[in-house]
């Protein structure tokens, strides 16, 4: 977890938006890296000491994240944000059901959403390869969300993927009610999910993760193929990262 004091971003950021972080002041790595913000504390937050802070939950996967582990307290970092379009919440007042589905580190971007949905009927499904890949369960529990977990090796929760878990839950869903589904995770997971939420009772948004150049719409490097009739390749950083699941060309 990396905590950053940056009041302008902490005050503005909405669930699903992201920041671009430059972890080195030299050429290696060269590009910024996109990160979802796990927790942010705006000026209005009851915990005074935390105001203006935001927290990034990350896993060491490459040179960038390795550098992040070497940052020391008080060291300055360079970040741009908030970026992209966040999740659309169900309209209020609403008795709609919300289902948050996170695979691996994808769960990070869903935590601020769970906070925003506090008090509503909210289910959280968390999946990972093993129990070590299950992140944030404790925090979601503190929000009083209903949590279910799935691991591919069965080391925590039910055995299988988080989409398998979702399918098993849909059997309990009521036919005449709306379900707002919010998902973030690797593409194969989201593609599998796309096949299961075609019914009109589902309103499903997904947050995509792709390699990014700039993060603010300048390079067209992070595109995803959509069903847009004129412009199939849309920028994840600008038109996304949150898309309606039916707008993406999942082939």
């Amino acid at each position: 977890m990396l905590g950053i004091y940056c009041p302008p971003i902490a005050n503005q950021i909405k669930p699903g938006q992201f920041v671009m972080l430059k972890v080195s002041d030299n050429m290696s790595p060269l590009l910024r890296r996109p990160f979802s913000v796990y927790k942010s504390y705006p000026a209005s937050h009851p915990e005074k000491r935390k105001r203006g802070h935001l927290f990034i939950l990350y896993k060491k996967v490459g040179e960038g994240t390795r550098r992040m582990t070497t940052l020391s307290k008080g060291q300055k970092v360079d970040l741009i944000g908030p970026l992209g379009n966040g999740f659309s919440l169900p309209p209020l007042p609403s008795s709609a059901h919300c289902v948050l589905i996170g695979g691996g580190v994808g769960i990070v971007s869903l935590y601020p959403l769970a906070e925003a949905l506090r008090g509503r009927k909210c289910f959280v499904l968390i999946g990972g390869k093993t129990k070590n890949d299950i992140l944030g369960a404790e925090d979601f529990r503190k929000l009083n969300s209903n949590i279910l977990m799935a691991t591919e090796d069965g080391s925590l929760g039910v055995r299988g993927t988080v989409v398998d878990l979702f399918i098993s839950q849909t059997k309990k869903f009521k036919t005449n009610e709306k379900y707002y589904i919010y998902a973030c995770g690797p593409v194969p997971m989201l593609r599998a999910l796309a096949g299961t939420v075609k019914s009109k009772k589902f309103i499903c948004q997904v947050s995509l993760e792709t390699r990014m150049g700039c993060g603010f719409g300048a390079c067209w490097g992070c595109v995803v193929k959509t069903k847009h009739p004129k412009i199939p390749y849309q920028r994840v950083c600008q038109e996304g990262p949150v898309f309606r699941i039916e707008d993406i060309a999942w082939e």
Binding site: L30, M212, C214, A218, C219
Partner: protein, 304 residues
């Protein structure tokens, strides 16, 4: 320090300073307005425009390598009509030069586009892209054959009175020869270098890192080669050179000016630090003041 004269003349354009932002790395400009006042730049070159809209290449389109970036965007753009309708009005309020980067699949398309842009108010110059490594037809085909480049520039020259800059590819044996050919064809200036054809391989998937397999390499990794090419071209032609290739800061920019560039373009650096352009202008001013040089033009080509 404010007294230094940073103005540069490129064709018919008088740039207030030599710092230009490069096509393909600056979106349509509006993406940068939260970061600084775009009117402070010498000129803006938005994303390259073709006659018809282009969808671009399949992702992944970007991959970071040691000190560089590989991209295979594939010239995704909305096409001439949509650009004029939805993008051009934005530039009207900016107090800087607008240079349009354009390209075609055939000579006819290049000429047609040049003619159309010539009729549009608010455009100062054209940058002909004959060097994109990411599309099969057009572009680089013209950029690697001196005879073809000469004929193409000659035809485009007749179609427009705007300042005509030709953007050269580094993927040639003799870039000075290419520069001379386009000078003879009637170009007002050359800009160089575009990206180097390159690729990256993933040993786990045994697949290329880019959806298009081959892409263009940019960033600090290419700077020494770009510098050498600008220097060689400077000795071969009499028209101004706009130098680029891995410029990350004012020091890099000054190196290009010293070896013969009248102006420079910031490319990849825009993606990492969107304020690079402004920082480079400031750094150049500081350098001139420290070295008691009153005009930037006195610095051009003074290397060696």
């Amino acid at each position: 320090m404010e007294d230094c004269d940073l103005t540069v003349r490129i064709g018919r354009m008088n740039l207030k300073n030599p710092v230009v932002v490069s096509s393909g790395t600056f979106g349509f400009g509006e993406e940068f307005e939260d970061f600084f006042d775009l009117s402070r730049l010498g000129a803006i070159i938005p994303k390259g425009i073709s006659l018809k809209p282009m969808a671009g290449n399949p992702p992944p389109r970007i991959f970071e390598t040691e000190g560089g970036i590989l991209n295979s965007i594939g010239l995704q753009n909305p096409g001439f009509r949509e650009f004029i309708k939805s993008k051009l009005p934005y530039y009207k309020n900016l107090k800087t030069h607008l240079i349009i980067n354009f390209f075609g699949n055939t000579q006819k398309e290049y000429v047609e586009l040049a003619r159309r842009f010539d009729d549009v108010a608010g455009i100062s110059g054209l940058e002909m892209n004959i060097s994109c490594p990411n599309v099969k037809r057009g572009g680089i085909v013209f950029g690697t054959d001196p005879q073809m480049a000469y004929r193409l520039v000659q035809a485009v020259r007749k179609a427009t009175a705007l300042t005509l800059i030709v953007k050269l590819s580094p993927n040639v044996t003799d870039i000075a020869l290419m520069a001379k050919s386009v000078e003879e064809g009637g170009a007002d200036a050359v800009s160089l270098v575009n990206t180097f054809r390159a690729m990256a391989v993933n040993i786990h998937t045994k697949k290329p890192e880019l959806g298009n397999t081959i892409g263009g390499l940019s960033g600090p990794a290419i700077k020494p080669i770009a510098l050498r090419m600008v220097w060689e071209v400077g000795q071969a032609v009499n028209i101004p050179i706009i130098g680029m290739g891995g410029i990350m800061n004012a020091t890099d920019a000054i190196e290009f000016i010293l070896v013969g560039a009248s102006a420079i373009q910031i490319g990849t650096a825009n993606l990492i630090n969107p304020k690079t352009g402004i920082e480079v202008i400031h750094g150049i001013k500081k350098y001139l003041a420290q070295n008691k040089i009153d005009r930037i033009q006195k610095l051009v080509g003074t290397f060696g």
